[in-house]
């Protein structure tokens, strides 16, 4: 649904240090959780929308995520309304979901997955944890390729996915042949990956070198400062009803 398929597009957003981007993202999503005023949340959605324009996200590449998001927002809003929690509550939550999803899509599309490791390393995470983040990014496309292969293989065995019939249970049953081979393969492969990493001297030196270097520029410091201020303002707004 949400793809990690990063392509550099030379936007303003990408020019920030990924550490600053991540801190801004965390501050923003925490702020979104704290605030419950629909007008303020509406402003946050507008802000996220503005950033997504600055990030040059195109409709074509994020279409599926938007459609899924629309579905989730509609379902949750309907549930909130049905359970009698009122229009204001439903609206607040819909806006929260929107702002969170929007900012998540931006982060996934603007941080180069090759920089996830050094990003966490730069934030003080130990090498092993930081490299695990890198590996996750590395194996998302492999996993999705495995899933496609399995889908093709089971279709070729007559599993009807193109014109599904039957009730929800019947449809759910169809997932076992799709999920099990992928899970079995990833478990088997994870041993190979661990072997591969060990055989390439992972953990050999007390301090590994990170080929990629991150540089804080004044604009990154400014972004982090703004993020802290933003969070403080949200907290003040919520806790002291300013």
């Amino acid at each position: 649904m949400i793809s990690f398929d990063y392509t550099p597009r030379g936007s303003v957003v990408e020019r920030f240090d990924p550490r600053a981007q991540l801190i801004a993202y965390l501050a923003f999503t925490t702020g979104v959780l704290l605030v419950s005023n629909p007008f303020v949340l509406g402003g946050f959605v507008a802000l996220a929308g503005l950033v997504s324009l600055l990030a040059r996200l195109r409709w074509r590449e994020t279409k599926q995520a938007w459609l899924a998001l629309a579905l989730i927002v509609i379902v949750f809003t309907a549930l909130n309304l049905i359970t009698g929690r009122g229009v204001a509550y439903a609206l607040t939550n819909a806006l929260r979901l929107l702002a969170t999803f929007l900012s998540t899509i931006i982060v996934m599309r603007t941080i180069n997955p090759a920089e996830y490791g050094v990003l966490w390393h730069g934030l003080g995470a130990p090498d092993r944890l930081a490299y695990t983040m890198n590996l996750m990014m590395r194996y998302v496309p492999t996993l999705s390729r495995d899933f496609e292969q399995t889908m093709d293989a089971q279709r070729a065995r007559g599993l009807e996915l193109d014109k599904p019939k039957g009730g929800i249970l019947e449809r759910a049953r169809r997932f076992a042949p799709l999920i099990i081979p992928v899970v079995v393969r990833s478990v088997l492969d994870s041993t190979d990956v661990a072997d591969a990493i060990d055989m390439r001297s992972f953990g050999a030196a007390p301090h590994r070198t990170w080929l990629r270097k991150l540089h804080f520029a004044p604009k990154d410091i400014a972004l982090i400062a703004l993020s802290v201020l933003f969070l403080a303002a949200c907290a003040a707004f919520t806790f002291f009803k300013i």
Partner: protein, 490 residues
């Protein structure tokens, strides 16, 4: 640096028999060593003993004997120390590449040993240049072809300046010309003083690179240890008695002027006209990237033509789903691991025919018959995951065989690269089972193995750059040396 394996025996945890028995071998610097043997003969176990994964990661098994490198007992070295001396290139490069970008991947080992950045960049770039992949340094690893991925994996190992390099089936997915080039590169590496060890099923290609040292393993023991001259070459398989293709037989599957392109890419198939007739046993030949798999995927609707049409008999398949086409076309994928899911082999084989809505008694009959054809009738209550890789490959064929629908004739069976990662005994057995054509009337197998085509096919179709460039009698097509060279098949 030479590596001495002294009287090593290893039994995996839970196994009754040792996978490697009293192995005593020398892997010498400056030599190209070739290790051969059937699947399960202990080749991978020997590799793991040398690169230290046994006993460091496989620590639950039972190990005796010792491995010496640089005059030291390897038992005293850490895995990180061994990995600086011995580089390993694994069978599937997809699993070995740990970074999203090529440069980061080649640099990974160098980063781990804490070299300064400038030196990392210099060494990684030099390794890439040496393997002719400097032009992909800025690409994503995921976007590379299989051959490029393998070169990146090798470059990552070479950048560490190892004294020995172990290559586990490095030629498995390469076409003949690429395999020859890869072997030349390994030969050159040995000539520079590195101990190069190649584990392979493709004997002839490796022997053509003049290995100084050949080792054959059988049932975990060293069955031959000597020079290439004495290497026990098996006889070439005899041509099977297969009736010649009949150009007037009924057309079962018909590709009419098919063109195909992936989104935003140049066409991978252009103006393909291929009539598959009853009685055909077609070897679909071509180099890596020639379009063989893309073509096969059109047989069952996994790809749809951008222009042109695919007919099953006289029915256009444009409106059919893949599941509907699966009644008339069987498709065996390269990797059986992509499809196995059921708790028992019986249920695995029943999955296809049940999907087609066949009645229970027919399903049962089909399952038993399919299991018998591939020689696994006594394993019906076992888990498909407990079978060997070669057996799993036969299961994937049986799954398709079991989908025979009473009353439907003229089924076509297509196999994508049946030889990849299989030893010769397994390949011959599988092909012998298939060419009986039990339950289907035409067989197409995509391969770059000319011997397989000579042994089994009654029709050879050669592809290059998305087009069919030859289609005819195998004896005629395969004796056209200029054509084969142009298509990188020799």
């Amino acid at each position: 640096m030479s590596i001495s394996v002294r009287d090593v025996t290893y039994t995996y945890s839970g196994a009754k028999q040792p996978a490697l028995k009293n192995a005593d071998v020398e892997l010498r610097e400056g030599e190209l060593t070739f290790i051969a043997g059937q699947s399960g003969s202990g080749k991978s176990t020997l590799i793991r003993c040398v690169n230290g994964l046994i006993p460091r990661r496989y620590n639950a098994g039972k190990l005796s004997g010792s491995v010496w490198m640089e005059g030291r007992d390897a038992a005293r070295l850490s895995l990180a120390q061994i990995s600086r001396l011995v580089g390993t290139v694994m069978q599937d490069p997809e699993r070995q590449l740990v970074s999203t970008q090529v440069m980061d991947d080649i640099a990974f080992g160098l980063e781990n040993i804490g070299l300064p950045r400038e030196e990392i960049i210099a060494r990684a770039t030099a390794a890439a240049q040496r393997l002719n992949i400097a032009h992909v340094l800025e690409r994503k690893t995921f976007s590379l072809s299989g051959g490029e991925k393998q070169k990146v994996a090798i470059a990552g190992v070479m950048a560490m300046n190892p004294r020995a390099v172990l290559l586990d089936e490095p030629l498995a997915s390469l076409d003949p010309a690429s395999a020859r080039e890869a072997m030349q590169a390994f030969r050159a590496l040995a000539d520079e003083g590195v101990a190069v060890v190649v584990v392979e099923h493709r004997h002839e290609v490796v022997l053509a690179a003049n290995p100084q040292h050949c080792i054959v393993l059988a049932d975990g023991a060293v069955a031959y240890d000597g020079d290439a001259a004495g290497f026990p070459r098996g006889p070439s398989p005899a041509r099977r008695a297969i009736a010649p293709a009949n150009p007037n037989a009924k057309i079962l599957l018909d590709l009419r002027d098919v063109t195909f392109a992936h989104p935003n890419a140049a066409p991978t198939l252009r103006n393909i006209n291929l009539h598959i007739r009853a009685g055909d046993v077609i070897a679909l030949l071509g180099a890596n990237g020639a379009g063989k798999s893309t073509l096969c995927r059109h047989f069952i609707g996994l790809h749809r033509p951008a222009s042109g049409a695919v007919f099953l008999g006289d029915e256009n398949t444009a409106g059919m789903t893949i599941a509907q086409m699966a009644r008339r076309v069987g498709y065996v994928f390269q990797n059986p691991g992509a499809m196995l899911f059921a708790p028992t082999l019986r249920e695995e084989l029943a999955f296809g025919p049940k999907n087609l809505g066949l009645p229970a008694d027919v399903v049962e009959k089909n399952v038993l018959h399919a299991a018998q054809v591939v020689g696994l009738a006594d394993r019906l209550d076992d888990s498909p995951f407990a079978l060997s890789h070669g057996q799993q490959k036969r299961v994937s064929v049986a799954c398709v065989l079991a989908m025979r629908v009473p009353g439907i004739t003229g089924r076509v069976m297509a196999l994508d690269e049946p030889t990849a990662g299989q030893d010769s005994a397994n390949i011959l057995r599988l092909m012998d089972e298939l060419t009986t054509r039990e339950g289907f009337e035409a067989l197409v197998f995509a391969t770059h193995d000319l011997d397989l085509a000579r042994t089994y096919a009654n029709r050879a179709v050669v592809m290059a750059e998305g087009q069919i460039v030859a289609d005819g009698e195998p004896s005629a097509v395969l004796s056209d040396a200029a054509l084969l060279a142009r298509c990188r098949l020799v």
